[in-house]
Amino acid sequence: MKELFETRQVSTEIAGVDPAADIDGEQTLVINMGPQHPSTHGVLRVVLVLDGEYIVSATPVIGYLHRMHEKMAEIRTCLQYMPNMGRVDYLNPLGWNWAYVGALERLAGIEVPERAEFIRVITGELNRISSHLVWFGAYILDLGAFTPIMYAFEDREKILDLLQPISGSRLTYSFFRPGGVATDVTDSFLKDTLAFVKYMRDRLPMYRDLVTDNIIFRRRCEGVGVLSLEMCQRYGATGPLLRGSNRPYDIRKAEPYSIYDRFDYQIPVDENGDAMGRYRVRMAEMAESLRIIEQAVNRIPEGEHLIKKAPKPLWKAPKGEVYFAVEGARGKIGVYLISNGDKHPYRVKLRSPGFSNLSLFGELAKGHLLQDAVSILGSLDLVIPEIDR
């Protein structure tokens, strides 16, 4: 028994949790959820202090997937850093592509051709849908239903097949370039994309019937992990978390970039702020992304996909500092870049939305049942490599 207690002490020491904390004279139990727990998606560890089934405190421990992307930025040239952007968040690499090239373009004053902007919007929104599909499948899987992930991956597969010929990869895209995109899209890509929009529109009602209206699922999500707007502000939560708490804050509208102001689409919000609210927001976002894609495919102009004077690998960014933010699948992706006029950036800071979104988990999970911790974690849509960077 003594040995057992000592191991517990060692494992909780790092998280700063007192293993023998008494709550009202009751002995509490400390358990480690992760780093290999299936619902943490990647290697996240949460040290939970339980009083019976209730969570007294939850402390996320991160850093298991840390790769020091910010240091890598300083030893590579501006363009050599592009492939890193595909690897920060493996589910939404185009969001990161966009934030980084956007920062370089804003710093150097590079104009992007019209056609390239349309290609960025089409591929970026396709990537948002594929990211949401993985979240959807995995979230329902966490809650105990196996079937939806098979459907979700079938749909995601179609998006990967669309993006593969133009970007050259299926997962870690490095497709955008300062001044445009790496390759032009073909007419068959546009035709297939329109066919996908039509196909996906028919799938969404099926998801609603299969999952959204399922009473078992709703009982696991409704009223669980209610996030107030004030808490969102204290922790800097963005994306579907903030919109699920009824604040229509979307970077595509708040800090308009690219050509998003030319399309007709809504910012879905939900007034409940619970796990179900965040679920509804993401499901509605997929439908809105389909609308944007459809409009963009129908209106894409002819022209070049990359400017003629596009930066070469040894290109030197002009002196100065710049901040550029885009709306990623998980919230506000920001790149803060400082250049001293050398071919390497002097400093690159990556603002990942998941980092801020996870930091509120400890406060949000307090007082919930252990099973609800899984539901809350899933509703935050965590991608650990993006959080650890």
């Binding site: 840390h66 910010e70 800090e255 002196k319 509120l360």
Partner: protein
């Protein structure tokens, strides 16, 4: 026009920027003891904290805070310049809880100490690591005035000489700015 939240805020230098060009509307240089006050002002005005980053330069470290408004394209950057030998800045985690992790990360990467932090432990790097990977070697360090773009300087403390002719490190640059008399003077 100066925004309302800036009223009564003690700053070393206020710089206005064009959002379209830089992604920032205001850049404020603060002394460490006014940082918490600035954070409170911005929280009241409905800003949220985006990130905290460090910067290593020939003038010392800079702790850089980005805050953004929900209402639209409005971003504020707060700069606190710190000496290399004892970089200390108050933690703003009492106002912005999310700052707790950002500050731990900056501590990992630069060794900047955030005083009053509730849990100052390494976040992303191993517990036993003593190096700070983003600290540059002396010859690689650039001057802050070559890195940061002042935009339009609206108001400047007469002792704040960062964007004037200077090559001296922070300690010689404005020795009194961190002392107790700095508050009275400002």
């Amino acid at each position: 026009m100066t925004p309302k939240w800036m009223d009564g805020l003690k700053t070393l230098c206020r710089c206005r920027h064009t959002f379209q060009k830089k992604g920032v509307t205001w850049g404020l240089f603060l002394s460490p003891d006014t940082l918490l006050d600035a954070a409170r002002h911005l929280f009241q005005a409905g800003f949220f904290l985006e990130d905290i980053s460090g910067l290593d330069s020939a003038n010392g470290f800079a702790a850089i805070y980005h805050l953004s408004a929900y209402s639209g394209a409005d971003r504020v950057t707060l700069y606190v310049i710190l000496p290399h030998d004892d970089p200390q800045v108050p933690s703003i985690s009492a106002v912005y809880n999310g700052a707790e992790w950002h500050e731990r990360e900056t501590m990992d990467f630069f060794g900047i100490h955030f005083t009053g932090h509730p849990d100052p432990k390494p976040l992303l790097l191993p517990e036993d690591m003593t190096d700070h990977p983003l600290i540059k070697e002396d010859k690689e360090r650039a001057l802050l005035r070559d890195l940061l773009d002042p935009g339009d300087i609206v108001e400047r403390d007469p002792d704040f000489l960062l964007f004037e002719e200077c090559d001296s490190p922070i300690d010689e640059l404005k020795p009194q700015a961190q002392g107790p008399d700095a508050i009275e003077r400002a």
